[in-house]
Structures are given as structure tokens and as C-alpha cells.
Symmetry: C2
Subunit: 254 residues, 2 copies
């Protein structure tokens, strides 16, 4: 047989056969006078075995290993390892599909969060916010929420989002107050009002999640992303929440 024949017989491409030669899985057969490889039944048998193994999902070096150790003690281990690997793959794919399913229905309905696919929890939260009027702060906040959505570990996500839900009602108002500070100086008198309004809607539990200011890098970036007066307002709001929390706990302790 020539290479095309044995390949067709076993159901692989000639290129693959040469690849197996090069990889040391299949010994190079004798050559004809013209340089063509001449294959026999033994080669076909071996090649078929290789194909069976690769079709199971084994890598070529694992196949080599299996072929190498006569009468496989190793085979059992390899197959078990393979099964674990396949199980992992299956889990990965299934999880992706599960995450994808709700996104698909949302997307088909034309309701995409515009910041890309996010978790169902956040989708629900954003839906609760509803259609806000044109507001730069609202847009920024949605981005931040999307960021948080991927940053926060799954285990805490539901908890975090439920905290947010409480603030959703007052969102429009707070966004408006902050938007008004876009071009203001940090010592603008409106900063104080905005800070109070923000602190009022920020749940106690949330402030800890907010970046501890100072060296964090990420915290700096967060505040740098806001206009000076907005940044000041947010900072003040956080202080207010922390103070409030301390007061609460000292009251509770008393």
C-alpha cells in the first residue's frame, strides 16, 4: 500500500500519517525504489490502533506511551486520567452553556446590557434601574457595576447585588446631583449635599467593598476617573457611611 491507500483505509489523512512517523508513533516503513513509502498490514493495524486512541482524546505522547508499554499496566492509569480530563472538559463546556443560555434569550429580545454579557444578578439589578435619562454618571456607574460583576467572586455576588437593590430607587436623584458636579471645583458648596444623598443610599455593608483610599493603586485610579468635585463627594460619602457604622456599632455595644 502507498500512503494514500493506508490513510484512506484507516480513515486519516496522509499528512497525519507522516506526522505520526515524525512523532515516533508509527515506524517508517520500507521505501520502494522510487522513494514511496510501502505499507503492510502491520502498519495498518498499528495506525488503526493509533486512530482509536487519538479519537478517545489522548494526546500523541500519551498514545506513544500506551503503545510503548507492552501489555498496559499504564493503560489503566492513562484511561482514568483521560476520563477525569474529559469530565473536566464537560463541566467547563456545560458551565459555559449555562451562562450563555440566559444571555442568549436576553440578546434575542434585544435587551443587552451594552457593557457586554454580565451575570444574571447584575442583569436583574440593571433592569431594576430601568431607563434612566441621559446621565454620564449613570453610564459610568453601570460600567463600574459590570467591572464589579466580574471582579467579585461568585460567592459574594448575590449578596452584593442584593445590597445594591436597596439603593436602586434613589439612583436617579443621586446621579443627578453628581452629574451637576462634573465641572465644579472640589470646594463647591453642592458637594456636601451630594455626599449626604449618596451616603443615605449607600448600604452600610457596601462601604467596606469600596476601595480603601490611599496607596491601593486601584483606589487612586477610581477617584482619578471622576471629576474633582465628584471625587470629593464620593470620598465624603464614604466617610459618612463609615462614621455612621461606627456610631451604630458603639450604640449596639452600649
Amino acid at each position: 500500500m502507498r500512503i494514500g491507500e493506508i490513510a484512506a483505509l484507516v480513515g486519516v489523512t496522509p499528512r497525519a500519517v507522516r506526522h505520526y512517523h515524525q512523532a515516533g508513533l508509527l515506524p517508517e516503513p520500507a521505501r520502494r525504489a522510487n522513494g514511496y513509502r510501502e505499507y503492510g498490514v502491520r502498519d495498518a493495524v498499528l495506525l488503526a490502533r493509533i486512530r482509536r486512541l487519538t479519537e478517545l482524546g489522548l494526546g500523541l505522547d500519551e498514545v506513544r506511551g500506551v503503545l510503548a508499554d507492552d501489555e498496559g499496566r499504564g493503560l489503566v492509569e492513562v484511561l482514568e486520567e483521560l476520563d477525569e480530563d474529559l469530565a473536566r472538559q464537560e463541566a467547563v463546556v456545560r458551565e459555559r452553556r449555562e451562562r450563555l443560555a440566559p444571555l442568549l434569550t436576553e440578546a434575542r429580545a434585544g435587551r443587552l446590557p451594552a457593557d457586554g454579557p454580565v451575570s444574571p444578578e447584575l442583569t436583574a439589578l440593571l433592569a431594576g434601574l430601568g431607563e434612566l435619562p441621559e446621565s454620564p454618571m449613570a453610564a459610568k456607574d453601570r460600567e463600574i457595576l459590570a467591572l464589579l460583576d466580574t471582579v467579585v467572586p461568585e460567592t459574594e455576588r448575590a449578596e452584593l447585588m442584593s445590597l445594591m437593590h436597596g439603593a436602586a430607587g434613589s439612583a436617579r436623584e443621586v446621579y443627578g446631583l453628581l452629574d451637576a458636579l462634573a465641572d465644579a471645583e472640589p470646594d463647591d458648596p453642592r458637594v456636601d449635599g451630594a455626599a449626604r444623598a449618596l451616603a443615605a443610599v449607600l448600604p452600610d455593608g457596601l462601604a467596606v467593598e469600596l476601595p480603601p483610599e490611599g496607596s491601593g493603586g486601584i483606589a487612586d485610579a477610581f477617584f482619578a476617573d471622576l471629576a474633582p468635585a465628584q471625587s470629593a463627594a464620593v470620598r465624603r460619602a464614604i466617610e459618612l457611611v463609615l462614621t455612621r457604622r461606627n456610631d451604630d456599632s458603639s450604640e449596639a455595644g452600649a
Copy 2:
């Protein structure tokens, strides 16, 4: 933020972030005086979005496409395509695991066909043959059976194997007769007996499956793999079966 910070924040490696830059997914941010990249919140938001998409299983160029078309009409298509792809992957993995499962139990029991994992049908057939005494012909036949196992399409496999089952009982005898011809000349008187015995156990339906001798390449290889006298015997046996079949059909026609 520096690259390590943003990477840790979003949950990827710095190397991946650089890769996204190079792939054009994430714009290169401004540099500090020392050459370090300096990232802001916008970058983190974008990076998180990239991560969400890649974690769904999208390729980087698809991600680029999704990021490119503002307000995705394309997103729906991409997600649908992705879901189909994932469905295919899931099917592949599950089929592998299904094929693997019986092999694992066999392997753990120490009963491996020695020619590597084969179909359950063939496993059953080989089990039916039982432990034959040391016989080169039996070994060769098992190899051929394994080859056939991967060569014939699944749809015909069960049929073929059931045909074989009828011959299993006489296998030992026929193997013996053929083994005896290993060093014989093609005109050895025992060739005839072996051919008759082989023809007697070969089911009518099987002969067509056997290589039509002559130019086939594979057929030549098959016969070349046998000793001359063995080859002659098999050839004769096939002739006998074909003749018998023709007789039968002419009788049936009369």
C-alpha cells in the same frame, strides 16, 4: 494602576493583558516616565468585558468583533454561533466518555484486548473466542479484526460482528490448519483441506467484505502478509465461498 494590579483586579495574568494589547483588543494605555504602562478605570472595565467574553469561550478575534460593533446586532449571531459550537463540543466529549466507560471497566478488570481499546461488539466477539492456545494465526486474526473494527463504518459493525460469531466455534481448528502451513510450499497438499475448512466456517455474507484480489493495494498487502501456502489457502477458500454462493442463488432462482 500598573499592569500587575489591573491584571490581578480583573483576574488575568499580566502576560494576557499584554497579549490583548498586541491583539488589538485593549488599547495601549499611556506610559509613566519609567516606561511602565499606567492603567485607569476605563481599561479595567474593558479588560473585564474581554474576560467575560473569553470565558464564555469566544475566540479573541470574535471578541474583537463584538467590541467593535457598537450596540451589537452582531452579538446575537456570535452568541448563537458560540452556542452551536459549544453544543458540538459537548457532544464530542460525551461521546468520548461513552466510548471510554466500557473500556475503563474492562481495563480495570485486567481484560484488555491487547490490541488496544476496541468497540464493545468486538470485545464481545473476542471474549467468545476465549483463550486460544498459542497460535500465530490467531494473533494475526485478532489484529485483522481490530483493524476491521475501526475500518468498517459503525452502521455495519454490529452486522459484521454477528456474522463472525457463527464462525467462532470452529476458530481453533482453522487456526491450527493454517498455522501448519506457515512453512509449507503453496502446492502443499494440506492447502486444500485448510481451504475447505476455512470456507466451511466463512459465512456467505462475509466473503464480499474480504479484499477483492488483484490491484487493490490493500488486498495485495493482505495476502503478502501471510505465508505463501496460507495465502493460497485463503484465496482458495474465498473462491469456494463465492462459488457456493453462486450455486445457492442459481438454485434459488431455478
